[in-house]
């Protein structure tokens, strides 16, 4: 049990509470588990708070605990995710016209972005766990590859590959959706 003050702990936690919650929400296997995961992670962090070295990166420290809680709690529930996104090979087959159209499309009207936006979360959820967590930690939480590799206990190159593959898969999924809605032509 931490001897340090609860106020000090809560003051450090408050600015990152949304990050903690949304990461748990995206990584939880069950429907309503995010709250349970966050509670377990926060109470574990609070019990271990004496081990946190003041003025070091609290967010990285908290996320290491959060990731462990996610592993532990996810094991208790049956996964009911749909099929994962297929691997994308280095796709030089995509023509320049499509690249240009795709790029322009993302610059396009608000309703288009909204349409993609709605499907974005579903596409993210269909990434593999490693890809999703590496992408979220990098893109959303701003951790470096080095920090991610330390948090997840994987080599830095592997973390980098997961981020890269996640980006490719997301991009292809969103492009497919745009083609489905007639917003983009399939390349020859």
């Amino acid at each position: 049990m931490a001897q340090r003050s609860a106020a000090e702990f809560l003051d450090l936690l408050e600015p990152i509470r949304d990050s903690v919650y949304r990461y748990a929400a995206r990584m939880a296997w069950g429907d309503s588990q995010a709250g349970d995961i966050v509670q377990e992670a926060v109470m574990t962090a609070w019990r271990e708070f004496d081990r946190y070295e003041a003025n070091t990166n609290f967010k990285a420290w908290m996320f290491r605990i959060l990731i462990n809680s996610i592993y532990r709690l996810n094991k208790r529930v049956a996964r009911h995710a749909g099929p994962q996104l297929d691997d994308v090979h280095q796709d030089l087959h995509v023509t320049m016209e499509r690249e240009e159209a795709w790029s322009a499309l993302l610059d396009g009207p608000e309703q288009l972005r909204e349409m993609l936006d709605d499907r974005l979360v579903a596409a993210l959820d269909r990434l593999g766990d490693d890809e999703r967590q590496c992408l979220l930690l990098r893109l959303l939480e701003g951790f470096s590859y080095k920090e991610i590799s330390a948090m997840l206990g994987m080599p830095m190159g592997t973390a980098m590959s997961h981020v890269h593959r996640a980006r490719l898969k997301l991009r292809e999924e969103l492009a497919s959706l745009a083609i489905e809605h007639g917003l983009l032509r399939e390349s020859a």
Binding site: L92, E100, R171
Partner: protein
């Protein structure tokens, strides 16, 4: 650099994780290759969309409020192992028992209550149990949404003196106890979150109903329970409570 190599490194390039020489090579390639430039722009926009979409997900206020409470509660449970800190609840529980005559309140029970009350009001909490005067207002406001006033116009002219305030366990629930003197008699105001008050032992829960907004008396001790926002507070004293009712204020504004 060819397109295949440039695309292989595009992701760490976007993340600014490449060494300077490689970053320069890719920048040069993007300047020269329109197709890869479009690809790079599209990837950057997908990143922005993912970021913008997911950053809209926030921790629900009730989850944050539960976390705060659980951390504070666990802190208190750990810190408060001094038997005296349960005195407020024990004393008021005895008061309720005598008042409601639960279990056939006998004279010995009444004596026990008087003894408990005397011990309680005469108890001198250790100095380190009290929070500093500066912290009293902050703790009341931040944790319970209350403020307090000892101004004569709020106390019907009764002189009120603050002895101190401390975090206590009240029927195993975390609470803040404000110890005062009203016309020289000790008065104790114990603030507890509504949600925690609902978990108090049955006699104390009964007392919160019977003494809600009115003073009830037993063996010369007066007790009254008021609430402001989501906080309930018990006022107990041998002094009439009319001067003490105006002490607690809504501190949420």
């Amino acid at each position: 650099m060819d397109c295949q190599t440039a695309r292989k490194w595009m992701s760490p390039y976007l993340d600014s994780e490449l060494e300077t020489a490689k970053t320069f090579e890719i920048s040069e390639h993007l300047r020269a290759c329109e197709c890869c430039r479009h690809r790079f722009d599209a990837e950057r926009r997908v990143d922005e969309m993912v970021g913008a979409r997911l950053k809209r997900e926030a921790m629900p206020p009730e989850v944050w409020s539960t976390l705060r409470r659980e951390v504070n509660r666990s802190h208190l449970l750990h810190r408060l192992r001094v038997p005296s800190v349960v005195a407020a609840a024990a004393c008021l529980a005895l008061f309720a028992m005598v008042y409601f005559k639960s279990g056939g309140s006998s004279p010995s029970r009444r004596e026990a209550f008087q003894g408990e009350w005397a011990l309680y009001v005469n108890e001198a909490p250790k100095a380190e149990e009290y929070i500093s005067t500066d912290e009293i207002e902050a703790a009341l406001k931040k944790e319970y949404g209350l403020s307090f006033s000892t101004s004569r116009k709020d106390t019907h002219g009764h002189p009120i003196e603050v002895i101190g305030a401390r975090h206590v366990l009240f029927g195993s629930q975390p609470a803040l106890e404000l110890r005062l003197k009203c016309c020289g008699k000790v008065a104790v105001i114990t603030a507890v979150h509504q949600a925690d008050a609902d978990k108090l032992p049955e006699d104390l829960r009964e007392l919160t109903k019977s003494a809600a907004g009115r003073s009830v008396s037993e063996n010369g001790v007066n007790v009254r329970v008021d609430s402001i926002g989501a906080t309930e507070y018990f006022i107990a004293s041998e002094h009439y409570l009319d001067g003490l009712v105006g002490v607690m204020k809504d501190g949420r504004a």
